[in-house]
């Protein structure tokens, strides 16, 4: 078989600007590079000298798809630094906000980024001509997720109410009934979604991955807990750097996140599902069972089904948290001192790490942020190595399409990840 290079320039239907370059020789991959040409934005640099209280607001701007995850993680890291303990209701309300963010992102991914591949359209908008009901369902789920984000956070993109120490304003009791009605209807749409995506034709591919996700003794872990690995390790955010390292490697433009100095690992919905399946609510478990998935899910393409199941979980849990209404105390007062703090949470795409040092006047001295896509980037490249030999007979165009689907299965969020990547501009 002749040597060839497959280049997927500016991968479509992912957030941000990246390309994939794969060199194949004798049916084997000799090089796979997920290249990010998106310009870096230097958050860790310009956060220095800003105020710690600005961190949730400013880090939201890392990502327009998962700002909620950044807002919550930044606030938690500062609270950990200052040893501010929050009350249970505030913690629960934050989880509901985080779940609405996951639902927003998953609805976008399932219907608008992933589904077009399986339905055979260039976009959901193009599909809406033939499949109006399906696309409208995607929009409805997105709308309900946004509604909950707005109800709790004040705005769907870059929420405003979440602050260090709590919330600036509690959600108003008046809006609650509308939210509950919307969530009830959304559950039907979510179950339909699980049915839809379980019928997709997934490529066969079962690599062995190390899964890493937040875990806790109390429910499906999103905003609270410790990190757990499928290889048996547990660690808290303050020990993150002892387990996860980054390295610049020759022949690749990405900075690799490595687990315990040697292995690629996977974060995200599949990791959460595999490690915390028992904590899912019954409705979500039943939906997963009907869809024919159970842990461990190994096929990365089937992350689409897991996302649909997580939408069900998010809806059920948001309904339960919002219940009869959540009354929360005003935000806790902050008293600054020279300190450091970190936090790990589950963003829609997986484990997210924020860590800060602050001085006694509340100025940021140092910031370190590692996003889920940075965690997954080496895993994506390794998957390319493992997948290609079994499909090397495909022509360039089909192979390119399949590799695009593989990258998309991780729902990479490139704007998020760029400050963690070494960037080589190779736009043509």
């Amino acid at each position: 078989m002749a040597d060839r290079t497959i280049v997927y320039e500016y991968i479509s239907r992912v957030e941000g600007q990246g390309s994939l370059e794969v060199t194949i020789s004798g049916g084997e991959v000799v090089d796979a590079k997920l290249k990010i040409f998106e310009a870096p934005r230097f958050f860790e640099a310009f956060l220095r000298g800003r105020k710690a209280l600005e961190l949730p607001e400013l880090t939201a701007r890392i990502c327009g798809i998962c700002p909620i995850a950044h807002v919550i993680t930044a606030a938690k890291a500062v609270e950990n630094a200052l040893e501010i303990a929050l009350d249970e209701k505030t913690i629960a309300l934050r989880k509901a906000l985080a779940l609405s963010g996951i639902m927003q992102s998953h609805a976008l991914h399932v219907y608008f980024l992933a589904a077009p591949d399986f339905l055979g359209y260039p976009s959901a908008i193009a599909a809406s001509k033939d499949l109006a009901d399906v696309v409208r369902r995607g929009f409805r789920l997105k709308r309900v997720a946004n509604m909950v984000s707005e109800y709790i956070g004040g705005r769907a993109v870059h929420p405003v109410t979440l602050t260090v120490g709590g919330f600036t304003k509690p959600p108003h009791a008046d809006g609650l009934e509308k939210v509950h009605n919307a969530l009830e209807n959304a559950l039907r749409d979510a179950l339909e979604t699980v049915k839809l995506v379980s019928g997709f034709n997934y490529p066969e591919f079962e690599p062995n991955h190390v899964n890493v996700a937040l875990s806790s003794g109390d429910g499906y872990a999103i905003t609270e807990g410790f990190a757990k690995a499928s290889s048996g390790e547990y660690f808290e955010s303050r020990d993150y750097r002892r387990y996860v390292s980054e390295e610049q490697v020759p022949h690749s433009n990405t900075k690799r996140s490595m687990f315990k100095n040697n292995s690629a690992f996977e974060v995200g919905p599949v990791s959460r599902f595999n490690l915390n399946y028992e904590s899912l609510c019954n409705t979500a478990k039943e939906a997963a069972e009907k869809a024919g998935i159970k842990p461990p899910v190994k096929n990365p393409f089937k992350s689409t089904i897991v996302r649909a199941v997580e939408i069900v979980q998010a809806i059920e849990e948001m309904r339960s948290i919002l219940g009869e209404g959540v009354s929360i105390p005003p935000p806790r007062k902050t008293r600054f001192r020279q300190s450091s703090g970190s936090a790990l949470t589950e963003a829609p795409r997986g484990l997210l790490y924020h860590s800060y040092s602050i001085d006694r006047d509340g100025n940021v001295l140092n910031a370190d942020i590692v996003t889920p896509t940075a965690h997954n980037s080496w895993r994506i490249e390794r998957d390319v190595f493992e997948l290609v030999p079994s499909v090397a007979h495909l022509d360039d165009e089909s192979l390119k399409r399949l590799l695009g689907m593989l990258v998309r299965a991780y729902d990479p969020c490139i704007s998020c990840s760029v400050h963690a990547f070494t960037v080589k501009l190779n736009r043509t």
């Binding site: 992912v14 040409f37 934005r41 860790e44 640099a45 310009f46 701007r61 798809i65 409208r136």
Partner: protein
């Protein structure tokens, strides 16, 4: 029937949040699409960069390197009407905060081998090309986006907000965060249109929509000083989404 308006959605250095607002039009997006043909929207569609002229381009993000400047000029040549979409496109947005740190220093904080990284100062689009209309905010406002798109369809000039966030806040009857809590709020000098979203949620305006022409930034800063706001905090407030033109700061 009149031909549909040909529109492209482009991204430079940004978080994609403003493109998300377009997706957040949700089912009304399908209504909007009865009048608009989205020719390029890479985040949700496999479209290739268009060769034929566009009626309008929505450009999100700041310009931070030569490649982006070249791309922007290409978009400009292609498009009859160019809309700077969001704070990054309008003023550089949060990306511009690094402009005050010496070049090279920023890169070395984030990257161990900064020689690979090519990124200069961040600027709004109008540093490079003529901008026909602005959508302000971080992120942009959903209603303003629909209004602008529909103005383009109807071929009338888009609505330009002419009042401040402070005026909108007063009309809503909110308690003033500055007068009651002495928090420096940029509402009195910031372009309105967001419905005073932040102050309505007990958060001071951070000025993400930029300065409204004719407002008195120096006067506002004097009022903060008199109220005892620290010079350090004032400096920080004036350099966030927008670098404010205040003498000596």
């Amino acid at each position: 029937m009149v031909d549909k308006l040909k529109v492209g959605v482009f991204k430079l250095t940004s978080c994609s949040g403003c493109q998300m607002v377009l997706v957040h039009l949700e089912e009304s997006l399908l209504e909007v699409l009865k009048h608009i043909d989205l020719k390029y929207f890479r985040m949700v569609s496999d479209d290739d960069l268009p060769n034929e002229p566009l009626d309008a381009a929505l450009v999100e993000g700041a310009v931070t390197n030569e490649e982006e400047a070249a791309m922007l000029k290409k978009i400009r040549r292609l498009s009859r009407f160019l809309v700077a979409t969001g704070a990054c496109a309008a003023t550089g947005g949060v990306n511009a905060m690094k402009n005050i740190t010496p070049e090279g220093e920023v890169e070395s904080i984030v990257y161990s081998s900064p020689e690979y990284v090519r990124s200069g100062k961040a600027f709004g689009l109008n540093e490079y090309v003529k901008v026909d209309a602005y959508l302000y905010g971080c992120p942009i406002d959903r209603n303003e986006l629909v209004n602008t798109l529909m103005s383009l369809v109807l071929r009338v000039p888009p609505y330009i907000p002419g009042l401040t966030v402070c005026m909108e806040c007063k009309m809503k009857g909110n308690e003033c965060v500055f007068l009651t809590r002495r928090e420096p709020c940029l509402g009195p000098v910031t372009v309105g249109g967001c419905g005073a979203l932040c102050p309505s949620n007990n958060v001071a305006c951070e000025g993400c929509r930029g300065v409204l022409k004719g407002t008195n930034v120096n006067g506002l800063v004097s009022a903060w000083e008199k109220a005892g706001v620290s010079p350090e905090l004032i400096r920080i407030k004036l350099r966030k989404y927008t670098v404010y033109p205040v003498a000596g700061r």
